[in-house]
């Protein structure tokens, strides 16, 4: 029997790591760290989880430790947020290029300066080109589900890429919600033992992490790109297998009340649940509005997105990240490029808001929808819109 318990998202993710029976956890335990490794350290110390817990001196060292651990064939987990992910950045690339299926939970946070430990998606977007599979969560249940799912998909022999599970710092990481925890035997049925095919073994010597001179580097990167894009099939299959065992089904692109919707709001992360309240309200008033939660960020679900928005007239994208001097928010930019080749494409209006822990209320999303439709109709001189900023914003021009 599964049980329903009250957990903050950090602890829900820690439960998933425990039930996945990881072998090694390497994490830097100090700010911007979250309760995920705190709870895991407790589990290891009191015997609930038989794993090596390695508290390291930095996030750079955390991911470096994970490389060695994964190469030795151990199921490996780490977690960080915000500045910590930035410090880890160099080794984040190494992990995916060496094809180590490490799982990492990121409680998304803003980047300094000014110094901030509060939530937004800037950290996730700064590592979007590293060939880690990246998924976003809307609530604490999904923090559990996606963390468990991440091991199964990343470790699949035809994938062998690391997976980042993103959930919003504070808005989820520190907030308590009901979470359904499955039985261990259900988890064991879903998640086979980790069998890394290239384990370091003295009886079968091999070199991991050799150098790649100019005459092969390009070939290695194309091989990596082809393999990474191919992982999308296993990602989708993994969602189905998860649903078949646990009863909760996920998709790369998740529609909410999108039937015949002329306007679609696209969001990543927990703010989608606030925006859904606005969609409900507007639908009740007869307005033709729906919402899409973009769960899978990398590899980007181009085909699924085009299919989901093909009948819409206007798309309004909400980003919790800014790309300075660029097209506004990374999600909006990606969606625009994904739709460019469509014979008839919807208008796309981008909003940036919710940075550095700024809340987005129902009223704010009402503004986003109303203003977004107005811009789609009349046009605007500004490249993107903002929400929640005090003072009239001008000067965001091409």
């Amino acid at each position: 029997m599964s049980k329903r318990v009250a957990l903050e998202a950090s602890h829900a993710a820690a439960e998933a790591v425990r039930m996945a029976d990881v072998d090694v956890i390497a994490a830097y335990p100090i700010t911007p760290q979250t309760h995920v490794p705190e709870r895991l350290a407790e589990m290891v110390a009191n015997g609930e989880l038989d794993a090596a817990y390695i508290p390291v001196e930095s996030e750079h060292s955390a991911m470096s430790t994970c490389l060695g651990s994964a190469a030795a064939g151990a199921r490996t987990f780490t977690t960080t947020a915000g500045q910590g992910l930035e410090l880890m950045h160099e080794v984040v690339y190494v992990a995916s290029s060496m094809r180590f299926p490490i799982v990492m939970v990121i409680c998304n946070r803003a980047l300094s300066a000014p110094l901030s430990v509060w939530g937004d998606h800037s950290d996730a977007m700064a590592v979007r080109d590293t060939s880690w599979i990246q998924v976003f969560c809307e609530n604490n249940q999904q923090a559990f589900d996606m963390t468990l799912w991440a091991f199964r998909v990343g470790e699949n022999p035809s994938v062998l890429f690391p997976v980042m599970v993103h959930f919003d710092g504070f808005h989820l990481s520190h907030v308590t919600e009901p979470v359904i925890l499955p039985e261990q035997d259900e988890v064991d049925r879903f998640l086979p033992k980790f069998q890394y095919p290239f384990t370091l073994d003295p009886s079968r010597p091999m070199t991991h992490g050799a150098f790649g001179p100019p005459d092969i580097y390009l070939e290695t990167k194309i091989a990596q790109e082809v393999a990474f894009r191919k992982s999308k099939d296993v990602i989708i299959q993994g969602f189905k297998e998860f649903g078949d065992i646990f009863g909760r089904y996920y998709d790369p692109v998740e529609p909410y009340k999108t039937e015949n919707a002329r306007t679609l709001l696209i969001i990543q992360g927990s703010f989608s649940e606030t925006a859904k309240l606005v969609v409900d309200e507007k639908r009740d008033k007869g307005e033709s509005i729906g919402l899409i939660h973009l769960r899978l960020w990398r590899p980007f679900p181009f085909k699924e997105l085009r299919q989901a928005v093909k009948d819409a007239e206007t798309i309004i994208v909400f980003d919790r990240c800014i790309s300075f001097g660029g097209p506004g928010g990374p999600v909006c930019s990606e969606i625009k490029s994904a739709l460019y080749d469509m014979p008839r494409r919807p208008k796309v209006v981008g909003f940036v808001g919710g940075l550095g822990g700024r809340d987005m209320s129902v009223k704010d999303f009402e503004y986003v929808l109303d203003r977004g439709r107005e811009v789609a109709e009349k046009g605007s001189d500004e490249i993107f819109e903002t929400v929640g900023v005090r003072g009239e914003v001008t000067g965001i021009k091409g």
Binding site: M98, P197, F198, M206, T207, L218, E219
Partner: protein, 102 residues
């Protein structure tokens, strides 16, 4: 034993890459010509050499080969010309010569 083969050259495509670019063969770095990185090459003066073997011991890349007659010679296919052998030679029997003068 199968012949060692370096994964490079015109016949080698992206599809031939091992997952994670692992190298499954030990010691195949010796097949890669790195001698062309060199700006200076070590030249051994057999008149001065007393066969002590320090050059062979100190070479960081195993590019000094012991010969049957007891002398030592650099493997110019692999030697990158760092000059450590010349520096440690107690008899000053190894001289670094500019490649362009060879």
């Amino acid at each position: 034993m199968t012949e060692k083969r370096l994964k490079t050259g015109p016949d080698f495509t992206w599809g031939d890459m091992e997952i994670g670019n692992i190298v499954t063969e030990a010691g195949n770095a010796a097949l890669r010509r790195t001698g062309d990185w060199r700006s200076q090459r070590p030249v051994v003066d057999r008149e001065k050499c007393n066969k002590c073997g320090l050059c062979w011991l100190y070479c960081p890349d195993a590019a000094i080969e012991p010969l049957k007659d007891g002398y030592y010679e650099p493997d110019l296919f692999y030697c990158k010309g760092c000059g450590i052998c010349a520096s440690v030679c107690p008899k000053e029997a190894i001289t670094m010569i500019e490649e362009e003068e060879v």
